[in-house]
């Protein structure tokens, strides 16, 4: 099982994500934003958190235009798995691999704390190791995590069971408490909370580990 983690100038959760993938059994290559190709045979691409390109213009906007993003889109269109966390989620919406957009938190403040997430849907590789309706604790750390989408998009997301996680207590104003969403083929997940920061006992919680374990399981079976 091969994973790649993209590294943009300003990424700061790339090594955390690499480690979480490795703990789940993936071999992981780090891929620089100027690269034009992903390593051969990559099953899963991680788009990490951080402040790619200093969040200039809009969070994720410049990263979405970088050379490696073209390779990312090609990987996604081949049916490859993609996992975007925090700034990675913002990048996935800017590349339009996921619908909607992330706006500034309603409080206008940066929020960094553990939050409760409800697992809304277990019908994906990312969520299959959880029980539907389970509440897990995962940290958030963002200033632009307020997910918004137009009513038609929300209708589709809900109707197709593509909301993976909702906040138990909404920290940022996200519409319908949405914390993470899946693509139409359920192989792309973007979420604001950081499961890679809650995947080992030393992190203070391990509720995020099942996400990586579930992914590994699905990819072994594939």
């Amino acid at each position: 099982m091969k994973a790649a983690v993209l590294v943009f100038p300003g990424s700061n959760c790339d090594r955390d994500l690499k480690r979480a993938f490795e703990q789940a059994g993936f071999s992981v290559d780090m891929v620089w934003h100027k690269d034009t190709n992903l390593p051969d045979g990559v099953d899963l691409v991680g788009v990490p958190g951080g402040f790619s390109y200093g969040d200039y213009l809009r969070c994720g906007a410049i990263a979405a235009q970088s050379p490696i993003s073209r390779a990312l889109k090609a990987h996604a269109s081949r049916g490859g798995y993609v996992f975007g966390v925090c700034n990675g989620f913002q990048i996935l919406t800017e590349t339009q691999l996921l619908p909607g957009a992330l706006l500034q938190n309603m409080s206008t403040r940066y929020i960094c704390k553990p939050v409760g997430l409800r697992v809304e849907n277990t019908d994906s590789a990312f969520t299959s190791a959880y029980e539907k309706g389970a509440v897990i604790s995962v940290p958030i750390a963002h200033h632009e995590g307020n997910y918004q989408a137009d009513p038609d998009t929300l209708l589709r997301l809900n109707g197709e069971g593509r909301v993976a996680f909702r906040y138990v207590e909404n920290p940022n104003g996200a519409v319908e408490d949405i914390a993470g969403i899946l693509s139409e083929n359920r192989r792309i997940l973007g979420m604001m909370p950081h499961p890679e920061r809650a995947s080992e006992p030393l992190h203070g919680g391990t509720d995020g580990a099942a996400l990586f374990a579930g992914l590994a399981q699905a990819l072994v079976a594939a």
Binding site: L57, R58, A61, Q65, T93, E94, P99, G100, A101, L103, Q104, N105, M106, S107, T108, N146, Q148, A149, D150, G173
Partner: protein, 76 residues
């Protein structure tokens, strides 16, 4: 030639920053400010002959996120 692109959050998209500015104006004693919307202005110095369609493409592809933002182009 120069183009000035104004990017604003679409009507109906809540603008927490604008709302914070409105509150601050009220706290300073300015009454009657019923709404504040904050956006950004991007100035482009362009080769002569650049068409409005090309600028529009720049807006669609990068300068604005049309999911949440609208843009206005002024050429001078």
């Amino acid at each position: 030639m120069r183009a000035t692109v104004t990017v604003m959050l679409k009507q109906g998209v809540l603008d927490p920053q604008g709302e914070a500015v409105r509150h601050a104006l009220g706290a300073l004693g300015f009454e009657g400010v019923s709404a504040v919307r904050q956006g950004k202005v991007i100035e482009l110095d362009l080769a002569d002959g650049t068409t409005e369609d090309q600028i529009r493409e720049m807006c669609e592809k990068l300068l604005a996120n049309t999911v949440i933002e609208s843009y206005h182009i002024a050429i001078s």
